[in-house]
């Protein structure tokens, strides 16, 4: 089975500091594989292990994306392409750049994370499915494959729904689908030596939106903090209105 996995690289958001103007300082932040991309890679590698085949990873990123690709290799990805040219979060552009590359090969299933942890947009799977003319199932917590048919279990509010869909298809995964493996040292070393295919993307970014401000939201809360055993009377008084 030919499996494609789409990997996103993000800045380490836990390390974002703010300047005096409450704006994020984004220079020189370390990059890492996005959380849900790890689950996507894990899901892809598990499918390969279960049904045999090959996993190819794609990153739309920059020349700094090779470290994330090596991480994917260490987890069990066989082949990887880094498409250069990423500038900003724009799902329409990302989908078209990835589609361009994905069209060059045939895949039975294309796996990605459901929502990335920077913007939570979750639009990529839908746009990509239109670009490639494939079925799409999102927020998967289980994938079973049999004879060119995938049974994908999707998590929703009150129930887990298993949907049957024909392959090839695009499946985005939720964090609950698996626990991403921690590669062993030997695998990390081997991954470092493996070649990465690097290509130039042709992203068509438009000036169709303009950022007016990007700031940490200011808290409007009262922030009355009690210490040393104090505050219980006060809080009880406030909560009395409930009763």
């Amino acid at each position: 089975m030919d499996i494609a996995v789409l990997v996103k690289q993000t800045v380490d958001m836990d390390q974002i500091k703010l300047n005096d103007n409450n704006e994020p300082i984004l220079d020189d932040l370390p990059l890492k594989m996005d959380i849900l991309s790890k689950n996507a890679v894990e899901a892809a590698v598990q499918l390969k292990e279960k049904y045999t085949g090959k996993v190819t990873a794609f990153i739309f990123g920059t020349e700094r994306s090779t470290s994330t690709m090596k991480e994917a290799y260490a987890m069990g990805v066989d082949d990887g392409t880094v498409i250069k040219g990423y500038q900003k979060s724009d799902p329409t552009v990302t989908a078209s750049v990835l589609a361009e590359e994905l069209k060059k090969s045939k895949f039975d299933i294309i796996i990605l994370g459901d929502q990335s942890s920077d913007s939570y947009s979750g639009l990529l799977a839908g746009i990509l499915s239109s670009e490639l003319g494939l079925d799409v199932v999102t927020n998967a917590i289980n994938i079973e494959i049999k004879d060119k048919i995938a049974n994908v279990t999707v998590e929703s509010e009150n129930e887990d729904i298993t949907v049957e869909t024909k392959l090839p298809a695009i499946v985005s995964v939720a964090q609950e689908i698996n626990e991403a493996r921690l590669p062993k040292v030997m695998q990390i070393m081997a991954a470092g030596k493996k070649p990465i295919n690097i290509v130039e993307g042709k992203p068509d970014y438009r000036d169709d939106s303009r950022i007016l401000s990007d700031k940490a939201p200011e808290s409007q809360r009262k922030k009355i903090i009690y210490e040393d055993g104090k505050g219980i009377d006060e809080v009880a008084k406030i909560l009395k209105v409930v009763k």
Binding site: P24, E157, D208, I211, L212, D214, G229, G231, L239, K240
Partner: protein
């Protein structure tokens, strides 16, 4: 101006209509819901058995035919799939996850970015938006909407199994008082130590992501946060919750936030109205005693 609102969850549709009401005329497409026609939309369309394929086909035709100025799609699984597909089909770029919308000459929207760390305010000519859940509290109006039932084409997708989840109790999004637990509770057994507070306040219990997803002390539907439910109770009482930014993003709509945590430097104290620095196993029983 005329807008179309779509949500597969009527609750979200009611909120989005309430939010946009007065700014423009609204049609809404959702699943069967008795109350939805009471929120001031001009026309309410109900559908059954919708999947991305038959819904996107219907919506694309409907949007083109009715020449809506704006399309607002609630951010659910189905909503995001549809927004992606429609954005491609109709060549309308989609601004995702907005929680604020103003339209003068241009459109100005707000959404969280960097995992909830910042809010970006953007100006654009975009016409399609996915709307973050709980954008406001839904309120009815006197105006009744006209109702039409839609017949969708048959879908290519086939549901082969539906498994109900353990979703004990009520929907935390409707709760007036929420007692929410975090890692600081220590163990599942300790829930019974804070239960008297839950009972005393007739509250709903909820939890942070680790509590609901990693440790499974509570069921998934009780998870509050950016990736869980966004709640807006009168009182949100956070017990042993450190207050990671993703959690804060889920509680911003709360009227009053009370935090109890032994770590003085926990970020939750930056985002609460009243905070008590102390051991929750000492503070909670004392609080219950005072409330009696």
């Amino acid at each position: 101006m005329k807008a179309l609102v779509f949500s597969d969850e009527p609750k979200n549709a009611r909120e989005i209509i309430t939010y946009l009401r007065g700014k423009m005329d609204i049609d809404v497409i959702s699943t069967e819901d008795k109350e939805l026609p009471e929120y001031g939309a001009q026309k309410v369309y109900f559908y059954k058995d919708g999947f991305v394929d038959n819904l996107s086909k219907f919506l694309a035709d409907h949007i083109t035919k009715n020449k809506y100025d704006f399309v607002f799609i609630s951010s659910t699984n189905t909503g995001r799939e549809l927004a992606g597909i429609l954005s491609y089909k109709l060549k309308m770029k989609c601004m995702p996850e907005i929680f604020s919308f103003e339209h003068g000459g241009k459109t100005v929207t707000k959404r969280f970015f960097h995992g909830g760390k910042t809010v970006v305010e953007e100006e654009s000519d975009f016409q399609m938006f996915t709307v973050s859940a709980s954008i406001c509290e839904a309120e009815k109006t006197d105006k009744r909407s006209e109702i039409e039932n839609i017949n969708l084409d048959k879908s290519n997708y086939k549901i082969i199994n539906v498994k109900g989840k353990n979703t004990a109790g009520t929907d935390i999004r409707n709760a007036k008082v929420i007692v929410s637990i975090g890692r600081g509770l220590g163990s599942e057994e300790n829930i019974k130590k804070i239960q008297p507070l839950v009972d005393e306040l007739h509250a709903e219990i909820a939890g942070s992501r680790p509590v609901c997803l990693d440790y499974k002390w509570l069921s998934e539907d009780k998870q509050v946060g950016l990736s869980g439910k966004k709640v807006r109770p009168d009182f949100y009482i956070a017990l042993g919750i450190s207050g990671q930014i993703q959690h804060i993003a889920g509680i911003r709509g709360s009227k009053t936030i009370i935090a109890i945590n032994k770590d003085k430097s926990a970020p939750i104290f930056e985002e609460c109205d009243y905070g008590i620095v102390g051991d929750l196993f000492t503070v909670v029983p004392e609080l219950v005693k005072k409330l009696k």
